[in-house]
Symmetry: C2
Subunit: 415 residues, 2 copies
């Protein structure tokens, strides 16, 4: 049997016992895992050093090496993250609803674990600690398949955490890390329906697309964000400038950063030069439509491809539109259904935008950067779903659970 | 452009307008559709006659012709079904939860339509009416792809209903029926991610498996039920007999019918002969393990294949087990995570069964036949989900919806 299949079956076999573990045991395991990461800091950093050296030797770009790099502060942050997860309420066992039928059947909808969660990710070793913590809290076994470049780091982290968790009462086998980092191991994971209950790809658009399109196991798609800010002709100009600048520049490399500015032609001549200057002062490269070119010196013409691109970089494309209707049509055509914002002081336009824009999160007079499990108050985040099934928008602990109907009778049969 | 793509895009284009249609307009459209089916009964039956004649000429089995056949009573039942859907509360727009963040952001989780729902089904023309009604009620556009054998019937039903719905204010294009019944049209539908938001296959296990394994569009799997009744050594014997007989024989061709009887060895010698006689009196063919063979004359030995088979017929396989633990292990190995029942008077065994059996519906002292949207009180049923993502167990109107976060601010930016 292959490594992937063996480990997935081991996880499956542990899942029944994990599903009935008490909150107290799970929480003590989370604390034990946090302490173990702190206690074994040196080993983790030494193993991580091997990955860093290999990445540098392979000529990987600086941003890549940075994502891969651990230091004391980052390992400490992983431990702190586990303690934050520990402090959250346990979602398992919650009675979501319940009722009695006329025939006396008592029906209860109860929150239960998924069973076995597969996480496929790339070079960031903190996903290993994060994924284990979130799964143990939700009584899910976890099969981790990280990138080859972080294998030494991931092995150290997962090994230390599994040992601590098992010592605290988590059933052996609940935490599995796949050492085979060939593409074949991802393909194999995608076939394991009936063993793995859900797959969560975390990483670049290419990885996510591959998994979504090819997996036989249900997938939660996390995602791509080609997010827009639409500045309406009726708006507070300072608010508009602040929101556009924040949405674009506060952290440009993440999915909820704005990539496009749509501006009402009624506001463009007054506002666009101000916004452009502010963005350029922060180092943003501006591209745009012919109308925008008339108002901004040296604007790079935007191509058709620009409108559909998630830059994840200090680049923004600007389009002058004829009011909220055209803004909505443009977003429907090019948006990725992630986060979309309108800046307006007009009630009806705000309502229209909320109603008609099809996205996980629709903002009126706020930055798109708030689409985030922590900013929404969930206390943890698995990712941001851009699909409509199961979960949409920031996913907290509940999104790692499913339900079970429990029906209590006293001999009822169907007539 | 192909028929499938053209019609899917037409549906997508209608989806924004449909999403903001009022409950009153949707409900009047449901009534108009019900009336139209009644008024045009003759045309529907004449078109259905063509399908029936072709099926008979092709030598199709009686059960197949029966599923295909419409008569006045069945068309009337379709109209009644639409009026029942009309009478249900509109789930769209419901605020599921909402809160204010410390920075003043108001976050609301609002229930919204999926957008475009694709339904792939086989020979039962009533799925056409049902699917259209459920989708219109939930503000979803619908793309129907029924089986070739029912094409004339489906065209008549969908055509009449679309005309009535559009006349009542539903945006044109919201209801689409694919005439191309080649396998290629199913394959094409499965590629349309970004246009079709969810695919629901309804029909035999082969169809469902094909769609689940190959679709790039998210799928809700409805399903196969290899359901068990476990009769514990501590139980009310009459209750045990009644539940087993009901679960097996009340309607053997459906997914929530029991296919397997597991019986505690402590109860087998006393109860098994009684149960076997009752089942045989109703025409059930019995198969079983060697232990069961000792207690039932003429029992057909059950093969390994039997334990995993959903018969959908008057056949039941019986296994004598050593208590609740072995029953649970057997169910975990062979069950399809649909509906599982225990008959027991022992509190701890009931709790253990509820906790450890991984299924959409777990019953204590009641028949598995209750797993059904109507029996659960949902008033409508899209199908019974055997997956864990999005929906599990009987699906009502809510399962055809997703959520959208609406965030109202007054200039908030992220620090």
């Amino acid at each position: 049997m292959s490594e992937v299949l063996t480990k997935a079956i081991n996880a499956k076999n542990a899942s029944v016992r994990l599903s009935s573990l008490s909150t107290a045991v799970k929480d003590s395991a989370l604390e034990a895992m946090a302490e173990a990461l702190e206690d074994r800091m040196e080993l983790i950093l030494a193993e991580n050093r091997k990955d860093i050296d290999a990445a540098i030797a392979a000529g990987r770009p600086k941003a890549f090496v940075d994502r891969l790099t651990l230091n004391e502060k980052r390992v400490q942050a992983m431990a702190t993250g586990l303690r934050q997860i520990r402090a959250l309420p346990d979602p398992i066992g919650e009675v979501i609803s319940g009722w009695v039928r006329p025939n006396g059947l008592e029906i209860v909808q109860r929150r239960v674990p998924m069973g076995v969660v597969g996480i496929i990710y790339e070079s960031r070793p903190n996903v290993t600690a994060d994924g284990i913590g979130l799964c143990i809290k939700t009584s899910n076994c976890v099969v981790l398949r990280g990138g080859s470049e972080a294998l030494n780091s991931n092995r150290a982290i997962a090994g230390i955490m599994a040992e601590a968790a098992y010592g605290a009462g988590v059933p052996e086998g609940a935490i599995q890390l796949i050492s085979n980092t060939d593409r074949g191991s991802v393909i194999e994971l995608m076939q394991l329906s009936g063993i793995i209950d859900v797959l969560i790809p975390r990483g670049g658009a290419g990885l996510i697309k591959t998994v979504v399109e090819n997996s036989k196991v249900p997938v939660i798609e996390t995602g791509e964000g080609n997010c827009h800010v639409y500045v309406d002709g009726e708006c507070d100009p300072d608010m508009a400038v602040n929101i556009v600048v924040n949405a674009k520049t506060q952290r440009p490399g993440v999915c909820n950063a704005a990539e496009k500015l749509l501006i009402d032609k009624k506001a463009a001549s007054q506002l666009l030069p101000v916004i452009a200057e502010q963005l350029r002062n922060r180092g943003v490269e501006l591209r745009g439509c012919p109308e925008a070119e008339k108002l901004i010196d040296g604007l790079i013409p935007a191509s058709e491809e620009d409108w559909g691109t998630e830059y994840l970089d200090m680049v923004m494309a600007i389009k002058v539109v004829d009011g909220v209707e055209e803004a909505i049509s443009h977003i429907q055509k090019y948006g990725t259904r992630h986060s979309e914002a309108i800046v307006t002081s007009n009630y009806n336009k705000g309502q229209k935008f909320i109603q008609e824009v099809d996205a996980a999160a629709v903002y009126v007079n706020a930055s798109t950067r708030f689409t985030d499990g922590f900013e929404y108050g969930f206390g943890a985040e698995i990712g941001i779903s851009t699909q409509k099934l199961h979960a949409r928008g920031p996913m907290g602990l509940k999104e790692l659970t499913t339900i079970k109907y429990v029906i209590l009778g006293n001999g009822q049969i169907r007539e």
